[in-house]
Symmetry: C2
Subunit: 146 residues, 2 copies
């Protein structure tokens, strides 16, 4: 587990306590992506598949974590402004939310806005994938504020 | 607490275990609305306000519960197909999600579809309100399947 992954996981577990009940873990944290996982057991619904509210929360954490890593500024707050989610197929085993890093032009614009105005928005896509197929598509707009 | 409220709360706590960790309660369940509440303590984020993932989950439960009450059919499954959410203001105390019953024409169409095809969709709006103001707007499309 990388230092970044450990830091993000500790941030979640200490600052957002419901992530402990959800048993959220950081599985991958590198230059390309942030991958957040959680087991089905604490997150199942009445049908024995993953609860939509847990899927949304875990996708939100993947996006939030990616913005946090991008800034690495303890004086900065990250909040979510809006999101939308489509549930394409039930998730029947481990929940695995993948937030891929946006392209360089998008990130450059984000950092530029943040440096100039102390505030910047980043629109991120997160997918929850199972057995190589996309089960959930999430798009969220995150705002960083100094 | 009405019998309906007790049933919905028990359904959540037994079938969707993360609702126990979130300390979700059914506050109001009548002909006009379903109101789901949860305390801030287990649902706070890194800023000490309500975590967006918890807000989304509790709004989802309000919509899901309303569809379940509308059908009262143990042979029927209710799932969420898609949703969108806007975070207008931070929630600083108890989370209170209100799903108001749609108008009669909408409900009649829903029941008609369900009786004819064994499948029907219902688009529901949920607001999370604090001190008389709307802090969160959620819209979800729920599907009932026999």
């Amino acid at each position: 587990m990388s230092l970044d992954a450990r830091q993000i996981e500790e941030l979640f577990h200490t600052q957002i306590p419901i992530t402990r009940a959800m048993a959220v873990r950081v599985a991958v944290c590198d230059e390309q992506q942030l991958v957040i996982t959680a087991p089905l057991a604490p997150n199942h619904n009445h049908l024995g598949t993953a609860f939509g509210g847990s899927l949304n929360a875990i996708a939100t954490l993947a996006g939030y974590g990616l913005v946090w890593l991008e800034l690495r500024d303890p004086a900065c707050h990250v909040v979510i402004r809006e999101s939308s989610i489509s549930f394409l197929a039930p998730v029947r085993s481990e929940i695995r939310a993948i937030c891929r890093r946006p392209d360089e032009a998008t990130l450059t614009a984000f950092h530029h806005d943040f440096a100039r105005k102390g505030k910047a928005r980043l629109r991120l896509e997160v997918t929850i994938e199972e057995a190589g197929a996309v089960a959930v598509k999430f798009t969220g707009t995150f705002v960083a504020l100094r």
